[in-house]
Amino acid sequence: MKKQKNNLPDLDFENEENTFKSIEVIQKEFLKKTVKTVLYILIVLAVYIMYSLITIRPELFENTFIRLINRSCFSNITIEWILFSTSTFLFVYFLKISYLKYTPSLISFIKNESKNLGFDFKKEFNSGQIFLLLNSVSISILIYIDLGWIKFEDGLVSGFFIFIISAYLTLSLILPIFWALFDDKFIIQLKDDFYILFDFHFKIGKPKKDGSNLVGIRLTSNRLSTKNDKCGRIIHSKIAKRRWLSRRKISKFNPYLHFYEFSTPLNFQKQFLNMALALTEWQIYYGSRILCFDARTPLNKIESKDKFLDYYKFFANFR
């Protein structure tokens, strides 16, 4: 197996032997990544447990460096907040990282395939930056309070300030956690309003010669419309059927329509272009609303062919 310029093995899925070797590389990398992440989680937990012990049983750490930090000019609240928020965020972040099945070689492979098509595959993990930004503000405020630069004589104003700062502290932790859980993603931006998200899947066990170690890439489009939008549902259904797009449903509770596609590393380009062209068609047909001129008609009646005479003509032009 060749090595790339960045020292990552060049994955090859063109024949059975190389596919087997590539899967082995992916699994080894994933194992390494998981061990590393678990280690980080343990370090974070150890720090947090240690701090809890300092606050509950301070006599255990008498005459130690840790005790010195605790006796510094900063109040317990400031130190406790720094440790609590950082460890909680890192715990969630590392859990998310270990859940996501990606490895450096696989990412590099997809990057090359996308680059070959003229697209930029990006890893957008912004939760860390958001956490740093929001938390540095909260820590600064807490330090200002400790140093006495922020203080209120009036009890009412002081109460209101405590309420505001408590709300901000809570938000500064919850927001990055939600961001890490739901918005850190692998993405290709096609146009301003159109993008495709990527999700990697493979089995972690030892690679098998029988080919059951399929490496899969799930592609999900941006939100198209709400499920209540009849016009959207009709056009979505027509395009998805015509392009053989995957009909899997992420969740019954998701109120939005998306396109889904499944690919393996070998047919990644083809499946990606299929999805991109589905979005092209969506923009043309949904924008024009030609296909659903009577959204009040019950859906089963709208789907009859006579209501979609233009649709076939349009798709014929699209070939």
């Binding site: 063109e14 070959n116 098509l117 146009k191 380009q269 991109a276 092209t280």
Partner: protein
């Protein structure tokens, strides 16, 4: 004997909308038999494509059939470009397999320049295959161009 979709359309003037298509007796039976022959040929094409052992083999055949519409001389690089494949090595196994199985003919003009043709003589179903592909299949290269146009690139 090879089945041709275009000949079938012309024979019964199916694409001439000024005429009424009226089939009676023997003519209708003949029409039906020819139509079934086309479907059978399509089914054999499916069978052939799905049984090509080389992973990229089916794609190479489709690309070759498509390029035969616009190019008189087709080489391996043309197929590589049409399929949007970054390296020719990815297709070498497919070329080898298709040649061994008599699906394509490779004429070696020089050590590096090889002209490739679909072997319709030994595979009569390839006539219909070529017609279908040339009229209805969109190659990855064309798909890419379409997406780029949509993105305004």
């Amino acid at each position: 004997m090879s089945v041709s979709f275009e000949e079938f359309i012309q024979k019964y003037d199916i694409d001439d909308f000024s005429k009424i298509l009226e089939l009676k007796g023997q003519e209708k039976v003949k029409f039906y038999n020819e139509f079934i022959e086309i479907i059978k040929s399509i089914s054999r094409i499916f069978d052939k494509l799905t049984n090509i052992a080389s992973i990229r083999g089916g794609q190479v055949l489709m690309s070759l059939a498509k390029l035969e519409k616009s190019e008189t001389v087709i080489n391996k690089t043309d197929i590589k470009r049409s399929l949007n494949i970054d390296r020719l090595e990815k297709l070498l196994h497919a070329f080898e397999y298709l040649e061994e199985n008599n699906y394509i003919n490779i004429e070696k003009k020089t050590s590096k320049f090889h002209v490739i043709k679909l072997n319709e003589k030994d595979n009569p179903d390839f006539t219909l295959f070529r017609e279908i592909i040339q009229n209805f299949w969109i190659s990855p290269e064309e798909e890419e161009a379409r997406v780029k146009k949509w993105r305004g690139l």
